[in-house]
């Protein structure tokens, strides 16, 4: 087979190359996909094999002209559109503030959703409130939609005495059971296979509950990805399995991590319906997720989705992507910015304006600053107070066993 990726030459086996290294200009091809390409099959009868085209094409609603078109258009009301836009903008501003605070040592580490704000927000909005969210570190936005207080989120990130996980995990590793937002874990991929179990339990209990989960293009190389697909294939629980192909895993471009043509189609041989969705298109994501949710309500089980997007920022606060990719690569990316695209759509619809947008941004900035000021009252990583050292010893088990009790006494705090 002739490999269509760009490859390192003079190598005895294939070694892929990214679109560009720092000194090269990224030459992304223009997108061949348009909102009218794909039909929207009836979710209550569609089979895996009916989604071949959807796995290989791209589900879009917002066209290059920022207008909504095609069968997948969810025809959302103005309120919902503006709500989504608001949450996305809020998340971006929140992330920027946190990143600044990280630079001052108020938190140890941070990861932004920059360029991917759309994903968790559109998808959570399309789900029911009883549905379980099993996220990675790049889906904190779901918590906004579910109504988590920003102060509570900041408390976690700065590890103060009000952090609901008691300073035990790194920032951005949110847990929020009330909002059915399951604890983020650092080992990438584990949530994907676990989510199938969460969904199995919902099915077992006979509840109308879905579980949605995500995995990165990078982490999809883990065994957990395969477990998830195959167990979902076998037991058909109510789960939505999303691969967020943002093209990068830290410094490793997807071209170096798989030779496949796309991620979406991987579910087809397992008998799971598959969609490849424009990840920067609020309407497409909303619509695809609703479609998957309708299948679940109809008792038909899993959907597999590739969310095609681009990691606009650094991997984390520890990362400097200009070392391994063109510093402005995001500007060349044909998928655009999810916030800009929805904003332009709303403006074209006549329900929004640049002016309103700016005003909203200012308001949100104030909100974030206010929340931040409130949160640091309970301490931050630079200055404390921290959760007491005794929290090291509690909740390791339901009850503190004697040996941990002895150790707690040894520490004497």
């Amino acid at each position: 087979m002739v490999d269509e990726r760009e490859l390192e030459t003079a190598s005895p086996f294939s070694v892929g190359k990214p679109p560009a290294r720092p000194d090269q200009e990224p030459g992304f091809a223009a997108w061949p996909w348009s909102p009218t390409d794909l039909t929207r099959p009836d979710p209550t009868t569609c089979k895996s094999e009916d989604t071949d085209a959807h796995a290989h094409g791209l589900v879009r609603v917002l066209g290059d002209d920022d207008l909504a078109d095609g069968e997948w258009n969810p025809s959302l009301d103005d309120e919902t559109l503006l709500e989504g836009l608001g949450w996305m903008l809020r998340l971006r501003i929140f992330d920027e503030r946190m990143m600044k605070m990280q630079r001052t040592g108020k938190l140890s580490f941070y990861m932004r959703s920059f360029g991917e704000e759309c994903i968790a927000i559109a998808q959570t909005m399309a789900l029911e409130t009883q549905d379980w969210i099993f996220p990675t570190y790049r889906q904190p936005g779901a918590q906004f939609v579910r109504g988590r207080s920003m102060i509570s989120m900041i408390n976690h990130c700065i590890g103060n005495i009000e952090d609901n996980v008691k300073g035990r995990q790194m920032p951005v590793h949110y847990t929020w059971k009330e909002g059915r937002f399951i604890s983020v874990s650092s080992p990438v991929g584990t949530q994907f296979s676990q989510a199938v179990g969460v969904a199995m339990a919902s099915a077992y209990k006979g509840l109308d509950e879905a579980t949605i989960t995500w995995i990165g293009d990078g982490a999809s190389a883990e065994g957990d990805y395969h477990y998830a697909i195959n167990f979902a294939s076998t037991f058909k629980p109510p789960v939505i399995l999303c691969v967020v192909n943002n093209q990068w895993a830290i410094s490793t471009h997807a071209n170096l991590a798989t030779g496949g043509r796309n991620f979406a189609a991987r579910g087809l041989p397992y008998g799971i319906p598959c969609l490849r969705v424009d990840g920067n298109d609020f309407l497409a994501l909303y619509s695809a997720t609703k479609w998957a949710r309708e299948r679940i309500s109809a008792g038909l089980g899993p959907t597999h989705m590739e969310i095609y997007t681009y990691r606009a920022g650094a991997h984390s606060s520890s990362d400097d992507p200009s070392v391994y990719r063109h510093a402005e690569e995001f500007k060349f990316w044909p998928g655009g910015d999810p916030i800009e695209r929805l904003k332009n759509h709303c403006i074209k619809k006549g329900i929004w304006s640049e002016d309103k947008h700016e005003k909203l941004a200012e308001l949100l900035d104030e909100e974030v600053m206010a929340a931040y000021k409130e949160a640091v009252k309970f301490g931050d990583l630079a200055n404390g107070p921290y959760p007491p050292a005794s929290t090291i010893f509690t909740e390791v088990y339901e009850e503190v066993p004697w040996h941990i009790q002895e150790q707690r006494e040894e520490l004497g705090k």
Partner: protein, 336 residues
């Protein structure tokens, strides 16, 4: 009370939990229709239904992840790893995920999973059907680690494991499924007539914190778990030395008072396990005992263990601690 072998006793514990807790689900390779390659779940699918007792795809890491997800969403999964040697594909899900989720989530999510697995040697299993990897779990905070040795404690401990709200790794000494093993491969008794084969029907539990004092004596403390409990019994008889024999039963958290009091009483200790010596749980026992009983010790604490090599096939009787090796160790403690 009914006479049961260990397989029946384990089956009885699971049956009771399935009957009395609708959140209990049971899965693993071949555990459904077939009832497990060792038949521990025999008949349970028929009795409780195919959504409560079912075959999982051949992916230990996959169904450990499934158990995790079910556990944090309110079920109480009991999963079987067909041989303890095959628990390692699930190691990440167990030690990084199950063990830590209560703590990492500030107590919001908990994972009451029981991981049952046949372990240990004595069935000519070679490298990969003989290992006893308890130490690799005792080093992971958040896990409880249990090792049964008789039909009676198999049932009692497994019931507690399933009822426990923390993840429990439950080792079953496969060599003792159908009878105790006294170290002589040519002597193959069944559980018939053995006092510990008398097992209560219905709900029966043993707390996950108690060692069992199998024999009582004055001059040496022998600590063991799993198959080695029976081998030690034989060795103690052969040695003619008056010994306490402690079956640890639960390794994390282990029974401090039973161990410390016995060690202080006898001043001489032998710890026996099948797993390799280096960094085995025996090391922890020795270290803890010398920390707590230093001034009572009359002789070096001895360890009799598997060798620091893979588990062999044809020569397995030269690998597993034998009554002879244990007897010698007990006697050595008496020489000073």
């Amino acid at each position: 009370m009914t006479e049961m072998n260990m397989i029946q006793a384990l089956n009885s514990a699971i049956d009771d939990r399935l009957s009395n807790d609708e959140n209990v689900v049971v899965f693993g390779e071949d555990v459904g229709f077939f009832g497990g390659v060792f038949r521990v779940t025999d008949g349970l699918q028929k009795k409780h239904g195919a959504h409560r007792v079912f075959d999982a795809p051949l992916a230990e890491g996959g169904f450990a992840a499934m158990a995790f997800g079910m556990g944090i969403n309110g079920l109480r999964p009991v999963m079987e790893i067909q041989f303890a040697d095959y628990i390692f594909p699930a190691y990440d899900q167990i030690v990084n995920e199950m063990a830590k989720v209560r703590h990492r989530s500030g107590g919001e999510f908990t994972c009451p999973v029981t991981v049952r697995t046949p372990a240990g040697g004595g069935i000519r299993g070679g490298h990969h059907h003989s290992q006893s990897p308890e130490a690799q779990f005792t080093h992971t905070p958040g896990l409880k680690v249990v090792y049964c040795s008789t039909p009676r404690n198999a049932k009692g401990l497994l019931t507690s494991a399933v009822e426990c709200n923390d993840p429990v790794i439950f080792f079953e000494p496969k060599r003792c499924y159908r009878g105790p093993f006294y170290g002589d491969p040519h002597n193959v008794p069944t559980w018939k007539g053995h006092p510990d084969a008398e097992v209560p029907e219905g709900h029966y539990s043993i707390p996950l914190e108690e060692a069992n004092l199998v024999m009582e004596g004055n001059d040496c403390t022998v600590i063991a778990w799993g198959t080695m409990v029976h081998v030690c019994k034989q060795a103690i008889e052969d040695s003619g030395v008056s010994c306490d024999l402690l079956d640890l039963q639960t390794l994390v958290p282990w029974d401090r008072d039973a161990v410390v009091n016995s060690a202080k009483k006898t001043g001489r200790v032998v710890v026996v396990h099948e797993a390799p010596k280096t960094s085995g749980f025996g090391g922890e026992m020795v270290a803890s005992i010398q920390e707590r009983c230093f001034y009572h010790l009359e002789a070096p604490i001895e360890r009799v263990t598997g060798w620091d090599t893979p588990f062999p096939h044809t020569t397995e009787w030269d690998y597993m601690p034998s009554p002879v090796r244990i007897t010698e160790a007990i006697r050595r403690t008496q020489e000073v």
